[in-house]
Amino acid sequence: MNPDSEFIQRDRGLHPPAVTPIYKTSVFRGPHRPLISLQNSLSEVTGPAFGQDELGPLDNDLILNYAKAGEPVGERIIVHGRVLDGAARPVPGVLVEFWQANASGRYRHRNDTYIGTIDPNFGGCGRTITDAEGRYVFRTIKPGPYPFRNRVNDWRPAHIHFSVFGSGFAQRLITQMYFEGDPLIRHDSIINTVADEGARDRLVARLDLNAAVPLDTLAYRWDIVLRGRRSTVFENRLQGN
């Protein structure tokens, strides 16, 4: 058993609490009782691993992975960054999945009835595996904002949903990435479920002109931090029966 394989405690102050009345759906879906704290066993420090052979060659190219009669309409962007852990080490070989609306703010989903038009050449999902330095990259169309039923006139800022696996199931994380300079961010009922200003700011990707492809595609940079593992030099708490 790895002596360093237990996770550092999650700082719940950096995450949204379960019940956040500004985001109305959370009011009946957030637990009221305190979470039971569980010291990590083997079931929490382990988790699934995924291989490159399970992915297709266009899985990280949302401009082409659903293109039928042509390319999708909208602002062509690259999104890239690194997956790091709490000890600032890169997290290589982990699955990163992403999904989003099209340039009109419309999702390809049977339950989305927004008036914004469906783009026949845009699916809106992709996935990749981080490289040896923990880097991920994908190409897409910048999503549009869209309205949702919360307050009468609530609009989500442009955002991309992210799902990330670490090496243990207790690192599992789903979050959303926003775009630098979007004036809707400060009005958003969902990013504002996070009380900590620094934590909200870290959900915002920065424009990265240096990674843009001239005359072709703009770029944004966004790093993701997963929980770190503790280095326990003197004991191996997970060992044995």
């Binding site: 959370s26 009221h32 988790g47």
Partner: protein
């Protein structure tokens, strides 16, 4: 780009709700379209996998008692020998190479039912100084209105002896609350089905863990 604290640690990225359209990214077929060659997490059991075939299923209820019909459920479990498919599992004994131990599904848009076809896991070593854990499956639930993924466990009604000495169930102070993690067994067409309903809030609220 992310500023470390004075000891050099980086703060974890904040969670956000998976939203109502989580299926697009994670189960696109349920969203209504086919895009990937391989859909991850669809199949846990292949003919090569060893162990007793079981079905696990249930519904997730909100604080008003209404089924949540847009949730995503993932499971992670040991194989029939009680081993996890992961290098950190250095327990002795055999391991089932054919079993990944991870699955993903969505609750049904009409009925709210979720289900997995899997195998019953073996017992896994507990932390040092503790007994082996009872057979269990780890569940992780996200949905619209859930700001951070909820972690819980499914235990089996017909493992009463192992459950009684399980080191995790025992840290739940109130015996009544332990029952929220125990799946009831039924036999359907000769096959075992374990049913675990999850209550997000209020009376009979399921125990959720801070891992």
């Amino acid at each position: 780009m992310i500023t470390p604290d004075t000891l050099g640690y980086l703060p974890e990225t904040a969670s956000q709700t998976a939203g109502p359209y989580v299926h697009i990214g994670l189960i696109p077929k349920q969203a209504g379209f086919d895009i990937f060659e391989t859909n991850l997490g669809e199949t846990l059991v292949t003919p090569a996998v060893q162990g007793e075939r079981i079905r696990i299923e249930g519904r997730i209820y909100d604080g008003t008692g209404t089924p949540v019909r847009d949730a995503l459920v993932e499971i992670w479990q040991a194989d029939s020998f009680g081993r996890h498919n992961h290098p950190a599992d250095r327990q002795d004994g055999p391991r089932d190479e054919a079993f990944r131990g991870w699955g993903r599904t969505g609750t049904d848009f009409q009925t709210g039912l979720w289900c997995f076809e899997t195998i019953k896991p073996g017992r896994v070593a507990g932390r040092r100084g503790h007994r082996r854990m009872a057979p269990h499956i780890s569940l992780w639930i996200v949905a619209r209105g859930i700001n951070i993924g909820l972690s819980t466990r499914l235990y089996f009604e017909d493992e009463a002896e192992a459950n009684a000495e399980d080191p995790v169930l025992r840290i739940i102070e109130q015996p009544e609350r332990r029952k929220t993690l125990i799946a009831r067994r039924e036999t359907r067409e000769g096959r075992p089905v374990y049913i675990l309903d999850i209550r997000l809030q209020g009376e009979g609220e399921t125990v959720f863990f801070d891992l």
